[in-house]
Symmetry: C2
Subunit: 363 residues, 2 copies
Amino acid sequence: MEQKAHRYCVIMCGGIGSRFWPFSRARLPKQFIDFLGTGRTLLQMTFDRVRDIIPVENIIIITNERYTELVAEQLPDIDASQILAEPARRNTAPCIAWATAHIAARDPEASMMVCPSDHMITREKEFERNVLKGFEFVETHDALLTLGISPTRPETGYGYIQVGEPVAENINKVKTFTEKPNLELAQIFLNSGEFFWNSGMFLWSARSIREALKEYVPDIAGVFFGCEASTFLDPESERKFIAEAFPGCMSISIDYSVMEKAQNVYVETVDIGWNDLGTWGALYDLSPKNSERNVTQNCNVLSYNCAGTIFAVRGDKLIVADGLNDYIVADADGVLLICPKAREQKIKQMLTDATVKFGDKYE
Amino acid sequence: MEQKAHRYCVIMCGGIGSRFWPFSRARLPKQFIDFLGTGRTLLQMTFDRVRDIIPVENIIIITNERYTELVAEQLPDIDASQILAEPARRNTAPCIAWATAHIAARDPEASMMVCPSDHMITREKEFERNVLKGFEFVETHDALLTLGISPTRPETGYGYIQVGEPVAENINKVKTFTEKPNLELAQIFLNSGEFFWNSGMFLWSARSIREALKEYVPDIAGVFFGCEASTFLDPESERKFIAEAFPGCMSISIDYSVMEKAQNVYVETVDIGWNDLGTWGALYDLSPKNSERNVTQNCNVLSYNCAGTIFAVRGDKLIVADGLNDYIVADADGVLLICPKAREQKIKQMLTDATVKFGDKYE
């Protein structure tokens, strides 16, 4: 068995993309949408990127059970057995623990890439080159490797990784993690050249991540690594086990529970044309702009005295706007959002407020 | 035949309400909408008001031919013969000339009230009392009588009437007409106590308005009063005549062509809770407001840092808005308008721009 056959990819696509509400909705989150108007959804683009690196049968999609059919429809080349359906939302640590147990039961020598399904990467060849180098590193070191992106602006919505001593070309020991710094700190990070954005893409061997989970989140590790490996080989026994055990796991991210605590964490610094498409501002930044710096997505716009505004509408609609500077105007499926770009971090709270006030119909 | 039997009402409802775009649309103008959420459209409310004063069979609805069916549906108590269908838009002078000829052919002794179909009047008893007094006046004087409203603010969108010598209780000779003054002038008018808003509601005898039309717009009068009266008694001959003659009339308002020129013009000053519902600002002013002075029409709104804004949406939609002060947010049938209230006089131009750029689909 050549090395490539031991390589796996776990694509996580159970999120609801609430910061992109109302475009991203609980019943159709943004990873399932042709977000960039390319004819492929973000999940499909993610799959296309990794299928050149990883054998298709080794690509695992882990999602919420309500999206299982969507995944199967959008990725006809994978088998139903490659879709892991979470019965509850428990953040990334339980998700990764399950995927690791599932893969290790089939291949104890496995190495894995774990990645989100809703990011944009424009430099695919560079991505491929970096991922292959990362696989080689984690296959020869007991290492938890994260991909770090050179920051281009003092973004306050991301996590930052400070690099320590170099251990290989573009691979360094991680010195510190800092989640969502304030603007002043973000500017210092940017100027220093020592800090990189945490992309949320990880590489490790199944063995290394299992040991790290056992050490730092023993409760979760106990659930997935305390039972017979054969549990994960039979779809029916796996389904029953997960239905019972998964909802009882605590909800915690892999960053907070493992990456910020483990001693064997490394960062591979990459330049792959990455954008997490995490916010309207991110989409605005990467979109073509007209002479007033307005961005128009899928709609007809007549704008007067508007600048720096993004107009995004699902459906054949006309927007007539006067006097909006640096706003987000988004309209989809019964929800219209008009919000200054500077307050986009509040959108998640607005969705919560809407749900509290009007129930889940606008979710 | 008692006097009441000679009284007629002409309700004009051929307009498209473009200043209320996108709520008011070419295919369903605002007079056909339950605009105030009362369960009755503005046309129906107008009809309800006059049917207590005028015999139902004497109420004439004059509209554009594309709205004939809408009128028939909304006013099932009138006969099809009471609906006059204009084959072209020619403003109010040709409209009134035709209605006068139509009525005079049936009753040369007729007196008439002419009124728009899309105004709000809250004090119905006072309206009735004033209209009856007005009928008595025009039945005993060769007079063109207009209803004047006491101004409550320096509105620049209305026409103003300056009163001259009194001739009866609350009835005065008209001294001057001033269309849409600037703010400074409007404030002077308001302070003087001598100026009243032109409501667009008129009373006169068929004979008086016919003579005035003959004198001041002989071209139009020649069309409608130069043919046999019997033309207007048979629906089929009337239809044929109008199809041929009406489009050739010049497009001109009764105010400009007759009221501002004639010597026998009088104003009855009334206090009837009137609002012309002519603009979003007018609707805002009369609507109940929340603690941030926002107005919500037919929609769910979550507002943050918004004040003095009107949210109006057709359909079950959620609006989430942040940072809009003194705006209009209106969404209906594929058009979303976001516009400062202070620029509402531009809405008509925006509709024109939309039509030039995208054709008539958003009209």
